[in-house]
């Protein structure tokens, strides 16, 4: 099955090595804040660190802007893992956006888990602008973790 999917992609884009989004080559979407994690990811770049290329970053002003419902949408669109990352507690560029969101994430995460979404597929992290190495570690570990999950998708947000 997976092989067929790859072939399909090949025909569509002509890019044989494109990230297919399959369980073995999962598509990860990272929602990150503009001030800390995005800069941390940039720092990984300027430091020429290498990490898994499965991740696609969507930049938002603040974790306070990262609606938990984005996670659902990302799953619906085939993401196998979703990362939400922003400034460490106390460091929010907007004072308290990450604190407000943390409450929501904690609750939303419980709800996802209760409804049968594999919580291994949802990751939250605080990555500062100086933590390029942490960004690399989080992305690599998360990618490896997703790859190791059972092939059968467990989220309820994909078309049956």
């Amino acid at each position: 099955m997976e092989d067929m999917k790859v072939e399909k992609n090949e025909q569509k884009d002509g890019t044989a090595a494109a990230n297919t989004g399959s369980q073995s080559d999962p598509r990860l979407i990272a929602f990150v804040c503009n001030w800390c994690t995005y800069n941390g990811a940039d720092l990984a770049g300027t430091s020429r660190m290498k990490y898994s290329d499965n991740v696609r970053v969507i930049k938002l002003p603040c974790t306070g802007r990262i609606d938990p419902l984005f996670i659902v949408e990302a799953f619906k669109k085939g993401a196998k893992g979703v990362l939400v990352s922003g400034c460490h507690p106390g460091d929010c560029h907007y004072t308290s956006g990450n604190y407000h969101s943390r409450r929501k994430y904690a609750t939303f995460r419980d709800l996802l888990g209760y409804l049968g979404v594999d919580l291994n597929r949802v990751e939250f992290s605080w990555i500062s602008a100086s933590e390029g190495n942490k960004w690399v570690a989080v992305i690599n570990e998360f990618t490896d973790k997703i790859k190791s999950l059972p092939d059968k998708t467990t989220d309820i947000f994909t078309k049956k």
Binding site: T107, G116, F157
Partner: protein, 301 residues
């Protein structure tokens, strides 16, 4: 059969309120055509107050009407509420949907309401096997806030401990991810997107629900997956930390999705995480309007 003393007192309060002009409308219960059911009634004239009644069949949460424009236009309103329903009134005040000055709360002491399907079969006795699960965990047999209190004549609900309210929650919690997924996929598969759960909820007061918003389309509106799961998840998420557990959504659901298993689970989780219970204090700040620096952080890397 009716608790005449209760009814008399209730009617007297309502009559006085309408006569004095303190309220323009009383929302209450009246006896239905079927003796085992009570239906809502809207009283605007003092002489109609005698229609009001209350019993262990007064199942509906009347606070749902407070969100309606047709009701709001009356301005000062009196409402008959059980302890659970009264928490919805409080939550509405907390969320600025209602002014405490505009509402007269007629609190009804309640020792449980009989499940409607049992009542329809003729059940008339309040007991731990005949009332809703919410009654078994109820801490507010006397409403936490009221302007008038009508005492109950029902005997106290005796709990043997053998009946476990919302026992399914623990069972579900113990399941594997796949099993949970399968359970809810089956339940949500039934959903026909009628939104009765939303209409019946006193705290779903948005004039335009998120499901009705396109640009972007937050939720697929056709009644199949993945939109069904999305709707049910978002409904539950929006009620997390706010739901007061009246159970009206579940009662309204035509396909019997056990929505209270989600609502009650989230209420427990929010209480465990943040020590907050919805609808207990009109002066409390809603749980998602505040934060603490020391909030639960273990799930974040």
């Amino acid at each position: 059969m009716a608790n005449t003393k209760t009814d008399e007192k209730l009617q007297k309060i309502a009559k006085d309120l309408l006569e004095s002009g303190e309220v323009n409308l009383i929302i209450g219960y009246t006896k239905g055509s079927n003796p085992q059911r009570m239906r809502p009634v809207f009283i605007t004239k003092p002489e109609e107050a005698e229609k009001l009644s209350f019993s262990h069949n007064a199942v509906q949460d009347l606070a749902v009407f407070l969100k309606k424009q047709e009701v709001k236009k009356f301005g000062k309103i009196g409402i008959t509420v059980k302890g659970c329903d009264e928490k919805a009134v409080n939550a509405l005040i907390q969320e600025y949907q209602l002014s405490r000055d505009n509402i007269k709360i007629i609190g009804m002491q309640c020792n449980g309401v009989i499940k409607q399907n049992l009542a329809d079969k003729g059940e008339t006795k309040v007991s731990e096997t005949t009332v809703y699960d919410k009654c078994l965990i109820c801490q507010e047999h006397t409403p936490v806030l009221y302007d008038f209190l009508v005492e109950t004549e029902e005997p106290e609900l005796s709990l043997s401990g053998n009946v476990k309210p919302y026992a399914e929650i623990e069972k579900l919690d113990a399941l594997s991810t796949e099993e949970k997924n399968a359970y809810w996929a089956k339940e949500f598969d039934k959903c026909i997107k009628c939104y009765a759960c939303r209409q019946a909820c006193p705290l779903c007061f948005c004039s335009r629900c998120i499901v009705e918003k396109n640009m972007p389309q937050w939720i697929d509106t056709n009644s199949e997956e993945p939109g069904n799961a999305q709707w049910n998840l978002i409904r539950a998420y929006h009620l997390s930390g706010r739901c007061i557990g009246c159970g009206e959504c579940e009662r309204a659901c035509p396909v019997n999705i056990p929505l209270m298993l989600i609502n009650e689970k989230m209420a427990r989780d929010v209480y465990n995480l943040f020590g907050y219970k919805s609808g207990l204090d009109i002066n409390a700040k809603p749980v998602f309007g505040v934060f603490s620096e020391s909030d639960f952080n273990d799930f974040i890397k």
